[in-house]
Every structure is written in structure tokens, then in C-alpha cells.
């Protein structure tokens, strides 16, 4: 009788085992050093770090903090101890003309209305057309610079029609306040900070007439992507869990991110919706990179070939952990 029951139990367990299609996670511990800019953009990283999702996916992550994505990327390219860097679209473009030492493995976030133009009303600026001949502050070779050119072109004139001043992004608010500049083009949190110190009534906010998408990426060196595909997969799997958590718990996520970058939670709450935190690889990033690369080539005035950005993207790790997140035609 006992024997028969044992056989029955065995059969049931085999049936259950057959129906359970989850593969057991036997991945080894991956040691990864991430160069991250201290902003809201890598919020998936901050959340995964706080919730110990890296540990869950057998990732021993070391974070090195940087003031900008550009520094993070450029340090990674020089420093072999860094495996992954967070970076925005523009630094990727400017570093893509020389050679192809790195690849994008995923988009960590994107924004559609992050870049704006903010002008002083007392200088008579009420619409985009009033910008002509005005002193406009922007960080040259930055997304702001790229955005401003497209913005002006949309309204029928170009950069030569304005007095463009190359100003560090962090000092733009105070220069606008002091009256040294008539308008500035920048992104969050600088826009919010400017509004805070000058007040909305003194300013005119000019938005992009068409959607202006700005992507932020996780980049890795090519050789690392080749030999550490498993480690990158584990890293991305933790971020995919964090992405889900952020969608389900936005307020908690905001607190985690604000605490991690030492930012005012109120500011974070106000600018949070400007960003979409999704771990994907969209076809649009190819177009975005190419458009900005064409602008950069024009800016350099040298004859530079447009890079093939397919060579700057490695879809394999993300396709492995989030197949529906890869929408690049292949």
C-alpha cells in the first residue's frame, strides 16, 4: 500500500515538475563596477541597490559616483576597473566618431520634455520668436545646444541669429537671475531650480513644439560585453525588477532616489514624471543617435563619416532577459 502511494506521489511530483517551466537560477556571483552619474536618471540602479535586487541576481555591484554621464563614460573608456557606465545620448554621440570601443546594452530611461528654454520676461521674451538677437546661455556640445538649434530652426532662424553663450549647466540659473543672460536652455533639475529662485512670474517657459526624446543608456566596453554576457544579463535582470517596482511604487522610489543622490524630495516629486524608467532597446535610439551625430558632424566642420550605430548596440543580454524589451529591427 505504502509502495503504491509512493509511486502515485512520484508521478504527481513529476507532473508538477513538468508543468513548472521556470529554470533554476544557477548563475555565479558577478562582480561589476558601475560608473554612475549622481542624478535621477539611474533611478533603477538606486532602487535595485536599496532593495538588494543585485544580490538577489548574484551581482556584487560597486558604484563609483560621477557628476555627469560624460565623465562616467570617459572614465570607463580609460579605466579597466569600470565595467558599465551610465550616460546620456550626447556624450555617446561625441565619443562615437573615433572608434567603437563601447556598446549600449540598454536604455535606462528617456525623457520627452526634459529640455526647455527659460527666458526673462523683462527682456521682452514672450514667445520663441522674441529670442532673436538675445543672449542665450547653453552648454556647448550638450543636448541643450543640440535642442536649441532644432528649436530655433523650427521657428525659422538658426543659432547665428542669437548671441549664444557657452555656460556650464550648473551656473545657468544664477547667470539668468543676474541678468547676464536673457534666456537659457537646460534640463532638470536646473529648470526647476531657476524657477525656484526667480519665480514663475518673471520667466517665460518655452517648450519644444515637437516631441524631443532624450535617451540615457547603460554602456559597456565591447570586450567586456563579449566575455561577460552573463554578468550583464544578471545586472539587467536586477534593473528590470527595479523598473517593475518603480512603476508599482512611484512614491517609495522617489524617496529612495532622492535619499541616494541627496536631493530635495519635493523637487524630485515635481520632475519625476519627466522621465520614463524603462530598460529597453528601441529602434528610435538609432534614429536619435544618427540625428544628433549629423548635428555633431556639422558642428565640427570636419568631414567625418556618420557612424553605423548598429555597431554601438549589443542586443544579446537584454534579449536574453527581456525579449519584448528589444524593438530594434534585426
Amino acid at each position: 500500500m505504502t509502495k503504491q502511494l509512493s509511486i502515485l506521489a512520484l508521478l504527481l511530483s513529476i507532473t508538477c515538475a513538468c508543468s513548472d517551466q521556470r529554470a533554476s537560477n544557477n548563475k555565479t556571483m558577478a562582480n561589476i563596477t558601475l560608473a554612475a552619474e549622481m542624478s535621477l536618471l539611474p533611478s533603477t540602479v538606486w532602487v535595485a541597490e536599496k532593495l538588494e535586487l543585485f544580490k538577489k541576481h548574484n551581482v556584487n555591484l560597486t558604484i563609483r559616483e560621477f557628476d555627469s554621464g560624460r565623465n562616467a563614460l570617459e572614465t570607463m573608456l580609460k579605466d579597466d576597473s569600470i565595467n558599465i557606465a551610465t550616460v546620456a545620448q550626447t556624450p555617446v554621440v561625441f565619443n562615437s566618431f573615433k572608434e567603437e570601443p563601447y556598446v549600449i546594452v540598454a536604455t535606462m530611461a528617456y525623457s520627452l520634455d526634459d529640455i526647455k528654454v527659460l527666458a526673462r520676461k523683462d527682456r521682452g521674451i514672450k514667445s520663441p520668436k522674441d529670442l532673436k538677437g538675445k543672449k542665450i546661455g547653453a552648454t556647448k556640445r550638450s543636448t541643450g545646444h543640440y535642442f536649441l538649434e532644432g528649436f530655433l530652426e523650427h521657428y525659422g532662424y538658426n543659432l547665428s541669429d542669437v548671441d549664444l553663450h557657452d555656460v556650464n549647466a550648473a551656473t545657468l540659473p544664477e547667470k539668468l537671475q543676474s541678468g547676464e543672460l536673457d534666456a537659457i536652455t537646460s534640463w532638470e533639475p536646473h529648470i526647476h531650480n531657476t524657477e525656484k529662485i526667480m519665480g514663475n512670474k518673471a520667466l517665460t517657459l518655452l517648450l519644444s513644439p515637437t516631441a524631443f526624446r532624450k535617451d540615457f543608456y547603460f554602456t559597456v566596453k565591447k570586450d567586456y560585453a563579449n566575455y561577460a554576457s552573463d554578468a550583464i544579463e544578471q545586472f539587467l535582470a536586477a534593473l528590470i525588477d527595479a523598473e517593475k517596482y518603480i512603476k508599482e511604487n512611484p512614491l517609495e522610489s522617489q524617496k529612495i532616489a532622492a535619499s541616494r543622490i541627496n536631493a530635495d524630495i519635493e523637487i524630485v516629486k515635481q520632475i519625476w514624471d519627466s522621465f520614463t524608467f524603462e530598460i529597453t532597446l528601441e529602434q528610435s535610439i538609432l534614429v536619435g543617435l544618427e540625428d544628433e551625430a549629423l548635428w555633431a558632424i556639422k558642428l565640427s566642420k570636419n568631414k567625418i563619416a556618420l557612424p553605423n550605430y548598429l555597431n554601438f548596440i549589443n542586443i544579446t543580454p537584454l534579449k536574453s532577459v527581456k525579449p519584448n524589451g528589444v524593438n530594434i529591427i534585426h
Partner: protein, 625 residues
């Protein structure tokens, strides 16, 4: 069929059905997955065609290598997908897939033509090649539309196949559910018939047993383990019934025993509490377990004060400190000085006074433990009475001695006037015989006879009184010689009588020879005196040994004897069993004999019947030495 076999069979059926379900499920799942994958690939074809159009436009617009490269790769992947679909569709749809392959090839040709017609990678398209490129791209869009149309028909087919498989799968699932449902009902019926019904029956029987009907039996008869269980139940109920009867008997016996115990306890309690003697019970360590009211009164303690204390509290020094040692020694040696015997000693009262007590200790074992009970009697009154008696005896002894001394003195003093009377009577008879009439002489003779008799009486009285004060001169001597001397003297006195004497030639005894001679003289003289009426006086003197191995001397005669009813008077002074006119005597002789024998710490007694003679016996204490 046995339950085990039924279960095996049943489990076998379940296993087969489960295996069948698993196999069918696996087959349908595989088929469904296969068809879903095919359908998904068809969808990918549609998606791919859309993407190729986008890339074509992008390439024409930008002229960069990247959309071209993507187009080539995507086209290749679509060809592969189509190849996979071709392998999955039936013969009817093979022609469709073949058509699609041709059209995809044509599309590739069109895209190559666009490539060739572009002068170089770059933007914008020149005016010369613009019309042809636009024409080629238009053709490509149209071809793409045809391809999508064909793919859609293929999609409808695969969708229909998928629906059919899902429908079949659903039917199989329903059938499986029905079979499993039937099987479940069969299981329920089987379980009810084979398990629950008999179990309910057994449960009902068990409740009957619990209610006390141990003689009831279950009529469950099945040829399986439950039937065996029912049989075991019946055996169990038989056993319980037997045991219950036995238990009832035992209970009655126990009740009787309990009642007897209660009665015994009541008796014990009554005796214990009402006993005039004090009772103290101690354990093997000497700790007092209980005391009765008499003991409380005797020692002036309450029972609460005594229980739990060492019994030494009731014992004065020095025994107080040795009491525990007494107990320890007794436990080791089992030799007791006082256990089992009554002893007189002193107890210690609460006020510190010593009181004389009589103690009897006995040992008892209760439930494997040793206890000692002491029965204590207050003998202070007894001791006092004893002391009073001793004092009275001493006073009596003194008075006796004084009386004896007085008697001796009187006897001695009486001799002097008696001798005067006798002397002057003799002078009158001898010197004035002639002057005296015969009547006076007769009177004088009677006076002299009276004084003579009185003299004998005084002599005997003196002897008896002297006897009490005599100091014994103990020695061993031959009694036969004394007997011979006494007989010879008597034969001189009684010459006219025939006296036959039998005695042993040698009777060795130990005593005061002079006093024993008095004893023999008195006894033999009595024998001669009280057999005076016999023609021949027969006297027998001998020695024998009694039960205590003591030497018994007897003197037997054939005289008048006496009535044994009066024997208590026999050895009292001045008591006579015969009239004076029958047999002369002072009444002091046997009293004197009795005194002498008692002086020797011996016994004297007599056996007789009237006219059948008398025998006197005496013994002497052999330890007088």
C-alpha cells in the same frame, strides 16, 4: 478481496488514468505550442514586412548604411522564418509558402536595384535617379502588400489549425474531467462501502461497548482487514466482559476488605484513643508519627507538639542521647534490649519531671516501612503501692519477731511457776502421801499431769518460736540414720504396739540436720499416733524425684488419714483435724514442720483419705548451699 489488494488495484487504475491524462496533455500541449509558434512566426512575417518598408523608406531618405544593413539582416531573418513555416504547414499550404519565398526574393531584388541606382551612400538622392528609385520603392511597397496578403491567408490557416487543436484540447480536457469526476464518485462509493460503512458500524459497536454493553457483538462480516478488525472487536468485548466480571468480583472483595479495614481502623482508632496506656508510634528514624490522648496526658504534651519530633524528647538523660544509637544498633543487629519485652524506666514530661513508666515496644512493618509502637503505662501508683507493701512487710516482720520474742519470753517465764506447781505437788504426794486422801492424791496427780502437759506445750511453743529465728546449718547427711534413731526411741515408748517400718537404707539429703531431725520426729510420731488403732502400724519412708528433678521425701502410714477438704488447716498452728479425745496433741507439730521446710525454701504437702492412711511429702531447696 482484502483492502490492501483493493487499494493496490484502485491505485493502479488511478496511476493508469493519470499517466494517460499526462500523455494526452503532453501531446496536446506540444501540438498547441507548435501551432502557436507557427502562428507567432506568421505574425513575425507581417511585422517583418512592415519593418522592411520602414527601413526601405529610411534608406531612401537617409542613404546611410545602417538601414541597409538592418534591411538585409531583417530580410534574411524573414526568409528563415518562412522556411520554418514551410516545414510546418501541410501540402495544401506549401504552394503559398513557395509563392512567398519567390516574392521575398523579388523584394530583395527590388531593394538591390534601389541600392544600385543610388550613386553613393549619402543624402539627398540626385535628380537623375530619383524617379527610378521612387518607382522601385513603389513596386517594393506593392510587393510587400502582396506578401502581407499571402501571409495573412497563411495566418488564417494556422489560426484555424490552432482553433481546431484548442477545441480538441478543450474536449479532451472535458472528457478527462468527466472521467476524473466519475472516478471520484466511484472512489466515494468505494470508500463509503468498503471503509465508511463498516467503520460506522464499528463505531456504533464501539459506542455500545463504551455505554457498558460489553457482551454485545458486531455482526460485521467482510472478507478484509475491517472484518478482521470486527472479529478483534468481538474478542476484545469478550475479554472486556470477562475482565469486567473479574473486576466486579475484585471490587466486591475490595469493598469488603475496605469495610473490614474501616472497621479495623475504627477499632484501632477506638483502642488507640481510648487506651488507658499511652501509645507512641515512631518511624525507623525515631520520629514520632502519632500519639494517643493517654500519652499526651502522661507526658503533658499535645499531639501537635510531639508529631514530627524525635522520640528522645520523651526520654530523660542519659538515654535521651543514646536513643538514636539504640535504633541504629537494632536495625543492624536486630537484637533489641527492650523490643518485645516490658521494661520499667523513666519518661520525661514536658515540665522536665521524670515519671516512672512501664514500656513495651513492638516492631511493625507498614507498606515496606518499619515502625515501632511503644505502649507506655504510668506505674507511679504501682511503684508507690509496692513500696508501701515492702514497708508493711518489714513492719509485719518486725512485729512477728517481737511476738516470737514475746512468746519465747512468756514460754520461758511460764516454766518457772509450772515447775513450782509440779515441785510442790510432788512434795505433797511424796511427803504427805499418808495424810492425803486418795481423792486429793488423785487431784495432785492430775495437777502434775496437767503441768507435765503444759510443760510439753511450752517446749513445743519454744521450739516453734525458736525455729523462726534459727540460723540454718546446712550440710549433707544420711537421713536413714535419723529415721532409725527416731524409730528406736518410739519403739521404746510404744513397746506394746506392732510397728512395721520400711525405709531405704541410705537417703542422702542436704539441710539443717537438727531441724530435719525435728521434721522426721514429728512426721513419724504423727504416723505412729494416728495409726494407733491399727493392729499393725505400717510406716514407709522413702525418696523419689519429681517433675522438676527435685528430691521428694515421703512418710506414708496406714492410719486414720484425713479429709483432703481440710488440708488447708493442716499446717496452721493449733489447728487439729481430729478431736483431742481421739488423738492427743498440741496442734503445733505440723506447724513447726511447715516452718522448718519453708526455712529450707522447700515445699510440704499431704495426700490422704479418711481411714486409708496419709502420706506426707516434702522437698528441700538443693541450692541452699
Amino acid at each position: 478481496m482484502k483492502l490492501a489488494k483493493q487499494s493496490q488495484l484502485f491505485i493502479g487504475v488511478i496511476v493508469l488514468i493519470l499517466l494517460g491524462s499526462i500523455i494526452i496533455d503532453f501531446q496536446y500541449t506540444t501540438k498547441l505550442n507548435f501551432q502557436r509558434e507557427t502562428f507567432s512566426k506568421v505574425e513575425q512575417l507581417v511585422q517583418g514586412m512592415f519593418e522592411l518598408n520602414i527601413l526601405t523608406n529610411e534608406y531612401i531618405m537617409s542613404g546611410t548604411r545602417r538601414p541597409y544593413q538592418q534591411w538585409i539582416r531583417r530580410h534574411a531573418s524573414l526568409v528563415n522564418i518562412l522556411l520554418t513555416i514551410s516545414n510546418r504547414v501541410d501540402a495544401e499550404n506549401i504552394s503559398t509558402t513557395n509563392k512567398l519565398r519567390v516574392k521575398l526574393s523579388e523584394l530583395r531584388n527590388l531593394f538591390t536595384k534601389i541600392l544600385i541606382n543610388k550613386t553613393s551612400d549619402g543624402f539627398p538622392i540626385s535628380k537623375t535617379n530619383k524617379p527610378i528609385i521612387y518607382k522601385l520603392s513603389s513596386q517594393a511597397r506593392l510587393l510587400s502588400q502582396q506578401i502581407v496578403s499571402n501571409v495573412n491567408s497563411l495566418g488564417k490557416y494556422t489560426q484555424a489549425q490552432l482553433d481546431l487543436t484548442e477545441k480538441n484540447s478543450k474536449q479532451i480536457l472535458q472528457l478527462s474531467s468527466f472521467i476524473i469526476g466519475c472516478l471520484f464518485i466511484a472512489v466515494m462509493i468505494w470508500v463509503n462501502q468498503v471503509f465508511l460503512k463498516p467503520i460506522r458500524q464499528l463505531h456504533k459497536h464501539a459506542k455500545t461497548l463504551i455505554s457498558g454493553s460489553y457482551y454485545s457483538k458486531t455482526d460485521l462480516k467482510t472478507n478484509n482487514e475491517l472484518g478482521e478488525l470486527a472479529e478483534s472487536y468481538n474478542i476484545l468485548s469478550d475479554t472486556i466482559w470477562g475482565k469486567m466480571k473479574e473486576l466486579t468480583r475484585n471490587t466486591r472483595f475490595l469493598e469488603k476488605s475496605l469495610n473490614a479495614t474501616k472497621i479495623a481502623e475504627s477499632r484501632y482508632s477506638t483502642i488507640f484513643n481510648s487506651a488507658s496506656d499511652g501509645i507512641v508510634i515512631i518511624n525507623h528514624k525515631g520520629i514520632i508519627q502519632s500519639v494517643n490522648p493517654s500519652a499526651e496526658a502522661l507526658f503533658d504534651y499535645t499531639s501537635d507538639e510531639l508529631i514530627g519530633e524525635n522520640v528522645a524528647i520523651l526520654v530523660p538523660s542519659p538515654h535521651k542521647y543514646q536513643h538514636d544509637n539504640y535504633l541504629e544498633n537494632y536495625k543492624k543487629t536486630r537484637k533489641a534490649k527492650i523490643i518485645g519485652a516490658r521494661r520499667e524506666l523513666e519518661g520525661l514530661r514536658k515540665d522536665g519531671e521524670h515519671t516512672p513508666i512501664s514500656l513495651a515496644i513492638s516492631e511493625m512493618t507498614l507498606e515496606g516501612k518499619t515502625y515501632f509502637s511503644g505502649v507506655i503505662r504510668d506505674i507511679s501508683e504501682e511503684i508507690k503501692a509496692k513500696n508501701d507493701l515492702i514497708r508493711t512487710n518489714e513492719q509485719l516482720s518486725m512485729t512477728n519477731k517481737e511476738l516470737e520474742a514475746y512468746a519465747y519470753s512468756i514460754s520461758h517465764d511460764l516454766r518457772s511457776p509450772l515447775r513450782v506447781i509440779d515441785g510442790y505437788s510432788m512434795i505433797l504426794l511424796e511427803d504427805y502421801a499418808d495424810e492425803l486422801s486418795s481423792e486429793v492424791r488423785d487431784y495432785l496427780l492430775r495437777i502434775r499431769k496437767g503441768t507435765d502437759k503444759m510443760g510439753d506445750l511450752i517446749t513445743n511453743l519454744l521450739k516453734m518460736s525458736q525455729t523462726a529465728n534459727e540460723t540454718l546449718m546446712i550440710e549433707s547427711f544420711d537421713l536413714s540414720k535419723i529415721i532409725k534413731e527416731v524409730i528406736e526411741q518410739l519403739q521404746q515408748i510404744h513397746k506394746n504396739r506392732k510397728i512395721e517400718l520400711n525405709y531405704l537404707p541410705e537417703i542422702q539429703i542436704t539441710g539443717d540436720k537438727t531441724l530435719i531431725q525435728d521434721v522426721m520426729e514429728n512426721l513419724i510420731n504423727n504416723s505412729v499416733k494416728f495409726s494407733a488403732k491399727q493392729a499393725i502400724t505400717k510406716i514407709e519412708i522413702g525418696s523419689s524425684t519429681n517433675a522438676d528433678n527435685l528430691q521428694v521425701i515421703f512418710v506414708k502410714d496406714n492410719g486414720v488419714g484425713f479429709n483432703m477438704a481440710h488440708q488447708s488447716k493442716l499446717f496452721q498452728p493449733f489447728q487439729r483435724l481430729h478431736k483431742v479425745n481421739q488423738f492427743e496433741g498440741s496442734g503445733i507439730g505440723l506447724a513447726t514442720v511447715h516452718r522448718i521446710i519453708k526455712l529450707h525454701k522447700g515445699d510440704i504437702w499431704a495426700e490422704s483419705e479418711p481411714d486409708k492412711g496419709a502420706t506426707f511429702y516434702f522437698t528441700l531447696n538443693p541450692t541452699l548451699n
